[in-house]
């Protein structure tokens, strides 16, 4: 099978997966969430007035008709109109997605930049006190709830020490409106540090442990024995021979992590009032804003599927043993 045909097949599979997810999302939200106009009652709207709003949202049409319109629009890249904001969903989502990705990618970068070499180093010191301490620390941050670590960080570094701002992305009032004007400032960096660190600490465990464990397996391989026999220094064997071969599972994990990053970490975004997609998803579900919720989850799914596809392709380059057959 040649590469092009393989890619085409994988692409079609990905599209099918997206279609199924889009369908599931549509029906799941409509069946699972209460009527989006129910909350208008406490605002004093009568039944007829509620029906007017329902008609404007298109909710008075048969479910299947709504579904067809929805599919048709998605194919044209139109995610519809948000019920609560009365604005095109795409406008809301792209802005929020960008905010989330800045936070998540910084966190993932920190986590992997520290986690991978640290994991390799721990495997070298296996069985020692350092190794045990490293594992415990990694597991601890992996299992500590982020709302707690986040609030502790706010309490210590924000409230008591006053070193870092505790909420939002920038100090108000501000002038910048463009996305890049917004993020290339020291002020933005100051706002980013705490939430990014909290997410990074949470993510740190995966690359750390995966790297350490795969390294241990690689140590048993013949080529390591060979390298030792050649008299290469242990450090060189560790980073040049063993680590390169242990990277594969880490890359998979990295791709999955980046894929899931699109949805953000809802908890961190709420604790730090970060205006990202995760916070928006929460609002969308809370208010039964179907178009916004559907589109957010669809984008997350698209991210995961795309990155999985990329990894599969990348694998063939990273590891010659993986072929297209």
């Amino acid at each position: 099978m040649n590469r092009a045909r393989y890619l085409l097949r994988r692409l079609l599979q990905a599209l099918l997966a997206l279609f199924i997810i889009a369908t599931l999302l549509f029906f799941l939200f409509r069946l699972g969430l209460p009527d989006p106009t129910a909350a208008l009652i406490t605002e004093g709207l009568s039944l007829e007035e509620r029906e007017m709003v329902r008609a404007r949202f298109g909710l008075d049409r048969p479910l299947f008709e709504q579904y067809l319109i929805y599919l048709g629009n998605i194919v044209q890249g139109d995610f519809g109109f948000s019920f609560s904001y009365r604005a095109p969903v795409a406008d809301i989502i792209w802005e929020r997605l960008a905010n989330t990705l800045v936070l998540m990618l910084s966190a993932i970068l920190i986590a992997y930049a520290i986690g991978v070499p640290l994991g390799a180093w721990l495997s070298w010191r296996r069985g020692s006190g350092t190794d045990t301490a490293g594992i415990i620390l990694g597991l601890m941050f992996r299992s500590a709830p982020m709302f707690w670590t986040g609030m502790m960080a706010i309490l210590i570094f924000g409230v008591s020490l006053g070193w870092f701002p505790t909420s939002g992305m920038r100090t108000l009032p501000y002038e910048a409106t463009g996305f890049f004007d917004k993020i290339f400032t020291l002020d933005f960096l100051a706002h980013l540090i705490l939430p990014a660190l909290i997410v990074a600490l949470y993510y740190l465990g995966s690359p750390l442990l995966i790297m350490r464990n795969t390294m241990m397996e690689v140590y048993g391989e013949d080529f390591i024995e060979m390298a030792r026999a050649k008299g290469l220094p242990e450090r060189r064997i560790l980073y040049h021979h063993a680590a390169r071969n242990a990277l594969l599972p880490v890359v998979t994990q990295l791709a999955v992590t980046i894929g899931l990053a699109a949805g953000g970490q809802v908890v961190v975004e709420v604790v730090f009032s970060w205006p990202g997609l995760g916070r928006e998803i929460l609002n969308a579900v809370r208010t039964s804003d179907f178009p916004l919720a559907q589109a957010s989850f669809l984008i997350m799914a698209a991210f995961v599927i795309t990155l999985n596809l990329l990894v599969d392709i990348l694998y063939t380059t990273l590891d010659p043993r993986v072929t297209l057959q």
């Binding site: 209460p34 129910a38 909350a39 208008l40 039944l47 406008d91 505790t166 108000l172 604790v271």
Partner: protein, 532 residues
Amino acid sequence: MKPLPILSTLLLPVALLTTPVLAQQRVAPVELITTTEAYDPIRYEAAFIIAEAWRELGLDVTVRPTEFRTALDRFYGNQDFDAVILGWSGRVDRLDPQFFLGTLDSRQSELGGNNPGGYINPEYDALYDAQSQQFDPDNRRDIVWEMQELYMPDIPTVVLFHRDEVVAYNHNTFTDIPVMAGEGLYSEWTPLQARPLTDRAVLRIGGPQEPDNVNPLDSTSVWGWKWMRMYYDRLVRLSADVEPVPWAAVEVTAVDETTVDVTLREGMRFHDGEPVTAADVAFTFNYYMTQDYSYFNAYLAPLAAVEQTGELSVRFTLSEPSAPFAIITLSQIPILPRHIWESIDNPGELSPEDIPTVGSGPLRFERHDRGEFMSLSRNDDHFSAGTVALEGVEFIIYADMEGVFTGLLTEQIDMTAWRMEPGQIPLAEAEDHLTVISVPDFGYFHLTYNLRREPFNDRAARRALTMAMDRERMVNVLLDGRGEVGTTVVAPVNAFWHNPFTERFDYDMDAARAELETAGYTWDAEGRLLRP
């Protein structure tokens, strides 16, 4: 599937023998719908306190915590409930008794109406019409008092309690922040009266809620209007004591029962420099009526026609006499610039960047960055500008109340827009720079009986079950004493309209039992309540 018919034939005679006796005698089990603990722990706990006492009276009760909007739909949309605990928020325009009294009007008892319990009392309805057409406030008050006295012994709905809104502000940065019932610190008077104590004359407000949008023909949330009313003028404003005070109007005259003449203030201008004239006012009201904007429909209902009668004078014609017209309608509808809106045919479909934000109010719209920040600046051309000490207002949008509270601690914000969580109140009180204020509310939490269903169709049962509610304990334990036990649907804080001399239904289990006994209820050997 086979064994089933055999089983049921075996059981049938037994069922026939035992059920008639029980089914005819025992009071049917009831379901009490309340919010989930996560949504509101107070209403959730209140339901258990009530259910416990009802069980003591021998009633079979199941508490059903329900997702909030599902609960709303079961209550209003389908009227599919036995008893429900929900609430009404205290919006300023509800200080006029019209709205809350209407929740017991039989004409609002159809599906989706505001009287889902189905209280039907023709005498009450007649009084409701009479008060709504009575222009003289003292005469109107007599009728309003009579209505409260009339419905209370029937107790179709129980006002459980009014919860104080506990808010805080930084007294080192600002002073003279007015406090308003139902609004707390974030009222439309705050930017006009607050005075800065430092060089920064921009008041920073923090809150977890943000406007759904700032389209005056589309927003359907209190938070949208709390923001917009600061940069749009209304003809009349409600004072902190809920007296209508002339604002963009200098004079409001009732010519007869259905005709109101309004004279506009001279020299007003919109933020883009155009003058505010009677044409703008007439246009605005007619525009709202033709656009059928659902949020204002109730306010505009009594209005038949609005016409410009001079450069600065407008005549409102009502379809029937309406006492709350000046308080509710004239104080809620913002004056829109005709030269901007007259060319917009479908204002509900404006995309966010196209929504006009030009008003004539004491503040000007500056920006709204969704999820982050909103700001307004002082309008130096406004007639009130001479007395305004603030240069602007900023609103920082947080994800939750925890973020707002941290903002208050780190002096990022000067005041909260919304009530604090119970746990935050003592922490705020311990801070040197914060002043904590309890503002009584005229909105309320209620338990409403479904009068179409047994046993709540029986007045005596309702009376007894109400006497079994320890509302004092709810206020002391659940609200930490920050609230007031409910009486009638018109709150005690609404002093002019509230009738303090109605039946109170204090907690008394013996009286509850006596009430049931008098009505012929009995108890079986296990203490279960039996029908009369």
